[in-house]
């Protein structure tokens, strides 16, 4: 097994320390300079670098099966590793939809075979994301993939009765429904945030109320039936207020925000460049401010990428014909630094909380999002906080070239990622995937 001694890194931005990773776990932790490398161990000099638990993304579109032209589990998880992630949740809106045990197990196995990080499939709430009948949630939970997060993401579970049943039903296996909050009638043909600007640009508006009305209904429902609810990609100031109100009332609700909603505004739509087309849409400056404050005060629990790669032809066209979505895995950490850490909303422990520990807890991902302490799984990311880099989509591991941050200079770089003690990223570049654990090899070949 891999053994690595990390010297002089600052866990969660604290005092410099040495960490020994052995047999997939954190074997020893001591003050900087206190540990010596065992025979044959790899030594990673990390003075000046920040060590965080491996990042966990609750909202990733890996596109496989069905849209391998946009992304595959292999390319998407390479991007994840480069972004410092050791676990991603693969959204269910694939073709076929991940609404059966068979599909979620296939995606889970592809993740295992790729070896760049844990791939936790999200199961669809309804068959075919059609919003009509519940998918076999229990079968997906009981499958090898062990699904705990259920979402029709891309579509809203709009039928209140269906949502209520789903919220109740998943209690049996400690699952959570992750709602894509979008009132469908209010957003038919919607192209951008509804604002004075949408009126001027002649693009059909996606009003904030279409998100807020659903969140308000859903937190009331979740409170009524005593279920967990997770709200995907909160994008408006009003949504933050509603979630804050619900939490104060004791509703078991968690909420996520994307990196792009923390940094970008709808002003970018002015040039009609579809790289800025995303769902929910980029909002106003006031919304951005409220979202940042929401993360700072804990109303918003996590940052999740909503990484949504698209082939070039789906973005290299006129606005209304373009696909919605942005890549995010390889820029998420830097954007969080720019939007939350540099302005003083979060410290490094806060980054670990919103990008690793809490998403792992919401997704019930065992072994991820732990403390950097002896006995924990060795999922560790090393970050150079002083580095600055210019985003170049062509240089990314994701197949998607649709980064809204292209050309921007961002702070902080992932230097190394350790996935179960194995370095998937070293010196800022992809290293090697972790070999499939021997116990899983049989299952993997069986799946072929």
């Amino acid at each position: 097994m891999d053994t690595t001694l990390i010297t002089g890194a600052r866990p969660l931005g604290g005092e410099a320390a040495d960490l020994l990773l052995r047999d997939g776990a954190i074997a020893e932790v001591g003050p900087a300079g206190s540990l010596s490398a065992p025979e044959g161990a790899r030594v990673v000099r990390a003075s000046g670098l920040i060590a965080l638990p491996g990042l966990v993304d609750l909202h990733t579109h890996l596109r496989e099966p069905g849209r391998e032209d946009a992304e595959t589990v292999e390319t998407g998880t390479r991007a994840a590793a480069l972004g410092g992630f050791t676990a991603v949740h693969a959204m269910a809106n694939t073709a076929p939809v991940a609404d059966t045990a068979g599909v979620v197990e296939q995606v889970w196995r592809l993740g295992q075979q790729a070896g760049w990080c844990d791939v936790r499939p999200v199961g669809a709430v309804t068959i075919g994301l059609a919003g009509e009948r519940l998918a076999e949630l229990g079968a997906m939970a009981d499958s090898a993939a062990g699904v705990r997060v259920f979402s029709d993401d891309g579509k809203c579970v709009f039928d209140a009765v269906l949502l209520r049943r789903a919220l109740e039903y998943v209690k049996a296996f400690d699952g959570v429904v992750a709602q894509h909050a979008q009132e469908p009638r209010l957003t038919e043909g919607a192209q951008m945030n509804e604002s004075a600007l949408s009126g001027v640009l002649g693009l059909r508006g996606w009003p904030a109320v279409a998100e807020e009305a659903i969140i308000a209904r859903d937190v009331l429902l979740a409170g009524h039936v005593g279920s967990r609810l997770h709200v995907c990609h909160v994008s408006t100031a009003g949504s933050v207020e509603i979630v804050r109100w619900a939490k104060a009332r004791g509703v078991d609700v968690t909420a996520e925000v994307t990196p792009h909603h923390l940094l970008l505004t709808d002003e970018l739509v002015r040039g009609y460049d579809p790289v800025y087309k995303v769902n929910p849409p980029l909002r106003s400056n006031d919304d951005v401010r409220a979202l940042r404050e929401g993360v700072a005060d804990g109303t918003i629990d996590i940052v999740a990428t909503d990484h949504a790669p698209h082939p070039v032809e789906d973005k290299d066209c006129e606005w209304s014909a373009a696909a919605m979505g942005m890549t995010g895995l390889e820029t998420a950490l830097s954007v969080v630094l720019a939007a939350l850490v540099e302005p003083g909303h979060l410290d490094w422990a806060g980054v670990a909380r919103v990008m690793s520990q809490t998403p792992a807890r919401i997704g019930r991902v065992t072994g991820q999002g732990g403390a950097l302490a002896v006995g924990e799984a060795a999922h560790v990311v090393l970050i150079d906080p002083a580095a600055r880099w210019t985003v170049d989509p062509a240089a990314m591991a994701t197949k998607g070239r649709n980064s809204p941050f292209a050309g921007r200079e961002l702070p902080g770089r992932v230097v190394a990622t350790f996935y179960g003690g194995h370095p998937t990223v070293l010196d800022g570049a992809l290293a090697t995937p972790r070999a499939l654990p021997a116990s899983d090899r049989e299952g993997a070949s069986w799946s072929k």
Binding site: S195, A196, G202, L203, D316, C317, A321
Partner: protein
């Protein structure tokens, strides 16, 4: 001026120059031989992703009267309707050596993409994009208004002038109208005061930030004695989406009728009535009003050719003067 994408981009000087050149063009169109040699050897491509016979014919006529070679791509029966992308179509045109691309597209901002992505090196003229803008329509509307309100109906008499102090009421489906957006910008730039009138459902969010006034009451707006009334097309499908309850109720509250025209001309005998066409007679305008003495609807079509000649001329030959 490299492209004509949006009326909002035009300065007062550019707009007045366009109108002046258009008046010169219009004067040549009263001669027996209408064709000018100005764009001989140049290629103008009409790229119509959305059907609009009248705008297409107007641009075609304008380009031909300037002796340009004209190629027209229409959505129907061409590769465009078979899903060929804007990009590929544009690259094809580029390979054919288009000096100007006149584009009509259902997607707001499509002409901007075309101009900014480098898919064509030619000048891009927006012939209507989605619910965004239709700058040459606004130019022909202001041309018509200036000729009659300032020039006394004589070509050339208003040269160099703008529309300072004139008041224009625009009534109809502002929300979905590229004509309204372009006219608000251009009339404002030329010094006119614009009042938009529509039911609240057919006004965009944030319209109060536009450089105009807004009213829900057509009769009150006409009671302020504007110099011109412009009716916008209202598509009947809007009724099904609950923008208004019925065609009858719409016409009653917002329709341009002979009675309303009589009330207006009692206050302003010189009032001008415009409509960009095609008209839904009986919905936003009655036949009596459309065919009445204050109507410039037919003349607008003639003026459209002159304005488009001016736009093509200034974009393609303007710097050579």
């Amino acid at each position: 001026m490299k492209h004509l994408l949006s009326a909002a981009d035009l300065t007062r000087e550019q707009a007045v120059r366009l109108l002046d050149v258009a008046e010169q063009m219009a004067a040549t169109q009263q001669r027996e031989i209408k064709k000018l040699p100005a764009l001989r050897g140049r290629t103008v491509v009409n790229l119509f992703f959305e059907d609009s016979t009248r705008t297409r014919l107007s641009f075609e006529t304008a380009a031909k009267r300037l002796s340009a070679d004209v190629i027209t791509f229409s959505a129907k029966g061409s590769s465009v309707s078979k899903g060929e992308s804007l990009k590929d179509t544009a690259l094809t045109l580029q390979a054919m050596g288009a000096d100007a691309v006149v584009i009509r597209h259902a997607s707001s901002g499509a002409p901007h993409r075309l101009a900014e992505k480098g898919w064509t090196s030619g000048a891009v003229l927006n012939a209507g994009d989605g619910t965004h803008e239709h700058p040459t329509q606004a130019l022909l509307d202001t041309f018509t208004l200036r000729k009659h309100l300032v020039g006394g109906g004589q070509l050339g008499a208003a040269a160099g002038a703008d529309l300072a102090g004139r008041r224009v009421v625009v009534v109809g489906d502002v929300l979905h109208s590229r004509v309204a957006r372009s006219n608000v910008h251009l009339l404002h730039t030329l010094g006119a005061r614009v009042t938009l009138v529509a039911p609240p459902t057919l006004l965009p969010l944030g319209v109060e930030t536009w450089p105009c006034e807004v009213s829900y009451d057509l009769d009150a707006a006409l009671g302020e004695a504007p110099d011109a009334l412009m009716a916008l097309r209202v598509q009947l499908e809007r009724m099904n989406a609950a923008y208004f309850p019925s065609a009858r109720e719409y016409s009653r509250r917002y329709g341009v009728t002979a009675e309303r025209m009589a009330a207006l001309t009692a206050l302003t005998p010189h009032a001008q009535l415009l409509h960009p066409g095609p008209m839904n007679r009986g919905l936003e305008i009655t036949a009596e009003a459309a065919d009445g003495p204050r109507s410039r609807v037919v003349e607008q079509v003639t003026n459209g050719v002159a304005v488009r000649m001016a736009a093509l001329y200034l974009l393609l030959a303007g710097e050579e003067e």
